[in-house]
């Protein structure tokens, strides 16, 4: 078996195909219990998420079904095939549309198209911001959720109101003190993830036709968001290891008009993974004040320092209410919950109004579960473990890349989070590399997405937030070889 085939065969689609054949051939009987997600993952030496995606796919196909209390079973698929449900299921079939690589770098589509990669038969999807599910306290959160549902089912019937669940606000206020941020409940709004937080923050300070300054390289989602809002993005370069260049920023502020805000990730920037020093954070804030601007501080990776030390947020020194602080539980605690928060300083009233007319309210259920988890006091120990895991993976990944990638490849190592930012030899176009990588089941984010200017065409971003093992080692080997071939 060659290596490419071995990587391919473990994708969820390959797994689903094998199980599909087994079921149709009668090797699993109708009504027979299938292995649990965990059992199956350990049996096949696959990641939990691959098995989850496989079961989800077969459920849509009508081949398996989840049953009360006890797991996944082979569905009565012959009967289903006959009835209308079958025709319907075929309408929602997960036939992945082809990735439109040409659109991938368009400002309007870069995020949409990158997401469309996820639907491809991938073995290693290293392109998005998802760490391994088993690195999160899923069991503890699920237990809390079950208990709350048992105790208060009626809450499902209550139309929610307000700017966030008071209990979650209380827990967050206490937690944010570890970032040096001191808030009251009315300073805080709970959002549908940090994406919504960023979106309402931008709308609160800028209108179509205005400009904001962003870091370069920068999270591509922000570029698509700005494009959709009609706001111009002015890219100011980062100094690797340090964050946004304050000299370049000062120059830009003196020469650009119509700038309303700076958007920055002072802690563990996406994709560079670097943090600004305290001194530079304070300098940045002074620049904001001097130029009468707002600072939108995206701190979603702030809790994921590889050292056991939580860096301060710039919001900690904000005396004029100019810093709009955005955070989320999606990276550090519960990816599926989609709960974020925003502390908008002097812009809070406008932000609250915009949120209300964007999505009314954030679901309270996930908020209640998070609140109880945070109150239980186990967040610090969860984060300690997560940070250790991330820190342990970096040297392994870096070594593998140096082993397999073309000579001259530079690895920008992060101080927090799970990104590796790779600079490949100059003639390697990582968008072309991506096409080939996807065809063998690996995805990453090509560098050109991190700027609107065509920069970073020989860079790429890798998500290494998962247990290091044979799968990742083989993946790096394969990816390195593809890059060698292009080189």
């Amino acid at each position: 078996m060659n290596m490419r085939a071995s990587v391919m065969q473990h994708s969820y689609r390959q797994l689903a195909q094998a199980l599909d054949s087994d079921i149709r051939a009668g090797r699993y009987q109708v009504g027979e219990r299938l292995p649990s997600v965990r059992e199956f993952a350990s049996l096949k030496q696959l990641s939990v998420s691959t098995v989850i995606r496989c079961y989800r796919y077969l459920e849509t196909e009508g081949l398996v079904e989840a049953r009360s209390k006890s797991g996944m079973y082979v569905a009565d698929w012959k009967v289903r095939a006959a009835d209308q449900a079958r025709t319907l299921a075929s309408k929602t079939k997960l036939t992945p549309p082809a990735v439109e690589y040409d659109k991938l770098v368009s400002l309007q589509h870069r995020m949409t198209e990158l997401y469309s990669l996820t639907a491809q038969p991938l073995q290693l999807g290293l392109h998005l911001a998802s760490a391994a599910p088993e690195w999160y306290p899923c069991d503890a959160l699920a237990k809390i959720a079950q208990r709350q549902l048992r105790q208060d089912p009626m809450l499902i019937g209550v139309y929610p109101g307000g700017t966030g669940l008071p209990a979650l606000k209380t827990a967050l206020i206490q937690w944010l003190k570890t970032s040096g941020v001191d808030l009251e409940a009315s300073d805080l709004l709970i959002t549908n993830g940090s994406t919504e937080a960023l979106s309402v923050a931008l709308r609160a300070v800028a209108q179509a036709g205005d400009a904001v300054i962003v870091e370069s390289p920068v999270y591509f989602g922000l570029l698509q968001m700005l494009e959709n809002l009609g706001i111009k993005a002015i890219e100011v370069p980062c100094v690797p290891g340090q964050g946004i260049s304050l000299e370049a920023l000062e120059y830009a502020l003196e020469h650009q008009t119509g700038v309303r805000a700076v958007v920055a990730m002072p802690n563990f920037q996406n994709p560079l993974g670097c943090s600004m020093s305290e001194k530079n954070k304070k300098r940045l804030l002074r620049l904001i004040e001097q130029h009468d601007l707002a600072l939108i501080e995206d701190d979603v990776f702030g809790d994921l320092s590889h050292l056991q030390h939580r860096p301060q947020a710039i919001k900690a020194w904000d005396r004029q209410g100019r810093v709009i602080y955005c955070g989320s539980c999606s990276k550090s605690l519960a990816p599926a919950f989609r709960v974020g928060w925003i502390a908008g300083g002097r812009y809070q009233a406008r932000i609250n109004s915009l949120k209300l007319s964007t999505s009314l309210i954030t679901p309270l259920f996930e908020q209640a579960v998070l609140a109880e988890f945070m109150q239980s006091g186990t967040l610090p120990s969860h984060l300690r473990k997560l940070r250790e895991r991330l820190a342990a993976t970096i040297p392994l990944a870096t070594a593998a890349i140096h082993r397999y990638f073309p000579a001259g490849t530079q690895v920008i190592s992060p101080a927090g989070g799970w990104w590796l930012w790779l600079e490949l030899p100059e003639h390697i176009d990582t968008l072309a590399l991506l096409r080939q990588a996807v065809s063998v089941g690996i995805a990453f984010t090509p560098g050109s997405l991190f700027s609107g200017s065509g920069k970073y065409a020989n860079y790429l971003r890798l998500n290494i937030g998962r247990p290091w093992g044979r799968e990742m080692e083989q993946g790096m080997k394969l990816l390195g070889r593809l890059a060698q071939d292009v080189a």
Copy 2:
């Protein structure tokens, strides 16, 4: 005991105050189990939601705590009082800020301020779109949710992607056939409630400076949303019992420039509760086509016909992809879930991109629970019951209003949903009436919020979506008397 006091004393704050005193006086011991929400509601003859709000309030105050499996207990409040948690809790104290009645009618604030009413000590909050929690299948949904969490806790760790859970899309596609709407999975995007659906729909078809046509009277949330997007709202009058006047619409379309779309609720309009005839629906669609516009069809109340008959959506006849159909489970099935959907026709790609850069993704957990509930086939029987309850309440509410309100009060009865739209004698300013009503624990929505023009100052909207009983009868009596006094 006079009537005002009797209405007052049942608000959740009054209940919480009483319980607070009982606990501090030692009538409930630390560690003692408190009655369940249901027991307490039945004991005190209060609504379930009042008790829920009371317990939530006391939990924030550190006086009670929820415990694993078995209910609500008296917390060790003396100890808590001493520690830091207490200071923090006080920061998030639910001291309701005063309602800024002057802001209530400002386009920028009408929704925000109306929501702020909810924080007041209300006995009868008839101002928002929430029906009684006990009218929803909370137990069934909670059971499904618990089972799913038990079976697949790992899903909490999976970062979601895509335009919605395939299983929910399958179930919705089948369900929407009852509205005459025939969709494929790729035509559909799951949103954070219908508010997000409306917001991305508007952004897909219009920019700041453009205009859209809305019905008059119209849902105030739409007016605040348009204001926040910088889109001009052109109000076209409705014919009570029929919906938007097509003659007036035709005239407006011939005389207004910059119009990009019409936003309408052809089924059970908010606040009028009326449905358009099939003939008029088709005429409206033809006008849209002739003027090269989009139609944003808000169908959130479509399932709540008081007859056991689901009217068609205009989307059913849309051959050119001009109708952007918006729906939600918040009114008909699970208010707390905040799951909506949008089928955007020719605008779908733009809508998907806007959603991605507004909130990335809608949480999958609630989607999975809804999907399983819908697949179980019990949605029709739930809706049958809900419709019967709504239909049974209308004549009781109408009779009570005629009994207690000033002579000349007209009640516009709905054909679906839970709104009563009241026209009071011309000299009665319902905004002034609201101030007085809130001071005795009753809230409604004053008519002036349903237009940007100052119209409908002597109208008001009441939500009667709750069991009719002494509480509501007394409330109508009190409200009628206040209106008499103003008259």
